[in-house]
């Protein structure tokens, strides 16, 4: 049964209010595809019945499941490679000098999905910066979805996921094969704390971050929400901290309190 206009509008408005995700008219098919399996798993015949149930019950687990089903989770190891080259060749070496007295670094991967980004950061640090072995390295990885966070904490990946973007030397060094899947070694998993966070809700108090990854997330939000998120990022970043966005994203179009630099063919943002 095809999704009708009213049901699509309901879902569209719900997602906008709950998670600030903007869906244009072309996404009607996507909503149908993503929510039909959820409806079935809830014992409902179709998305119409799912919408009816959502309308009749107060906001609860079902509503959260709808948000999670509609959130895109695609990610890969060392996605787009250039930001990681920038991190390795420039950002981290500068930070190591700047933090030599405190010997601590804090990195935040926002919208981490199934964890490939924070695991990439952790492996990069372990592989290329042995001098940081005794430093306090905190990698925080957050996402809206409890489901993907559960997967991320386990650090288990399919062969398909392993084949995307992961250098083979790192695969051999930091993963164990287990049947069909591969698991990140425990010492790497221990470097990361995974927590749930909805970027559009108030952020908890936390220490300032030296590096923030907010890649390929802002594109889903309207301008007002983008501004609000970037304002929060400004608040939690160290004055000399670095922000990485997705390759096609541009903070300056939304918030001119950042300045943009080009490092290793990657745009990075610093506070003015």
């Amino acid at each position: 049964m095809a999704l009708d206009v009213q049901d699509f509008e309901f879902i569209r408005n719900f997602l906008l209010k709950r998670s600030a995700i903007v869906l244009d008219d072309e996404k009607r098919y996507l909503v149908e595809t993503r929510l039909q399996p959820l409806a079935q798993s809830e014992g409902l015949a179709n998305v119409r019945e799912l919408v009816t149930k959502m309308q009749k019950t107060p906001v609860n687990g079902l509503h959260q499941k709808v948000v999670e089903a509609m959130t895109t989770h695609e990610t890969t190891f060392f996605r787009d490679i250039n930001p990681f080259n920038a991190l390795r060749k420039s950002v981290l070496p500068e930070l190591i000098t700047a933090r030599s007295s405190t010997q601590s670094l804090r990195i935040w991967c926002m919208a981490c999905s199934t964890g490939q980004e924070p695991f990439s950061v952790a492996m990069l640090i372990r592989e290329y910066f042995p001098q940081l072995q005794n430093w306090k390295i905190s990698i925080l990885a957050t996402d809206l979805s409890m489901q993907v966070l559960k997967r991320a904490r386990e650090g288990v990946f399919s062969q398909h996921e392993m084949n995307r973007g992961l250098p083979s030397t790192l695969m051999l060094k930091y993963f164990q094969r287990n049947g069909m899947n591969w698991q990140v070694n425990e010492d790497i998993r221990r470097m990361i704390v995974f927590q749930q966070l909805n970027l559009i809700e108030p952020w908890p108090l936390m220490p300032l971050s030296d590096v923030v990854f907010l890649r390929n997330v802002l594109i889903y939000f309207d301008v007002t929400t983008k501004k609000s998120i970037l304002a929060n990022v400004r608040r939690i970043m160290r004055p000399d901290g670095t922000l990485f966005l997705g390759g096609s994203e541009n903070a300056l179009a939304v918030d001119d309190s950042f300045k943009r630099l080009e490092i290793e063919q990657s745009s990075v943002y610093r506070l003015r």
């Binding site: 060392f78 490679i81 062969q159 392993m162 084949n163 973007g165 250098p167 695969m171 051999l172 094969r177």
Partner: protein, 126 residues
């Protein structure tokens, strides 16, 4: 830019050729390691070779060793593209001098990722 595809399966060579030709590579093929060495001899400035493991005459591992033993080809990157998915085999290939390892089955994006990892600047982005 020149690429050498080494696989005993004509079908697999065709699949790989389709992907890399859209990236602007000029393709040369070989059905096993000995033929591949001959092709390298004809095209010594080959930038990268995509190499299967299990082949008649000379397998992929031996081909990698032979290439790395010859300083004439030290600029040629070697990417194993193989159904061997065992970490021990993978380690053996990397120790022998392979630059990257791509497990079959693969998508065009996966191959592209590997080519980026070995530092290739593609003439044309698909």
């Amino acid at each position: 830019m020149q690429i050498l595809i080494v696989d005993d399966s004509t079908a697999m060579r065709k699949i790989l050729r389709r992907i890399v030709e859209t990236l602007g590579f000029k393709v040369v093929e070989a059905g096993h390691g000995i033929e591949a060495m001959q092709q390298l001899g004809s095209f010594p400035t080959t930038e990268v070779a995509l190499v299967d493991w299990n082949m008649p005459e000379m397998n992929g591992l031996d081909f990698v060793k032979a290439v790395r033993a010859n300083p004439l080809y030290e600029q040629t990157k070697l990417v194993m593209v193989t159904s061997e998915t065992d970490p021990t085999k993978m380690a053996r290939a990397m120790m022998a001098g392979a630059d990257e390892f791509l497990m079959k089955p693969f998508t065009a994006e996966m191959l592209l990722d590997k080519l980026h990892l070995i530092g290739l600047t593609m003439p044309r982005v698909c």
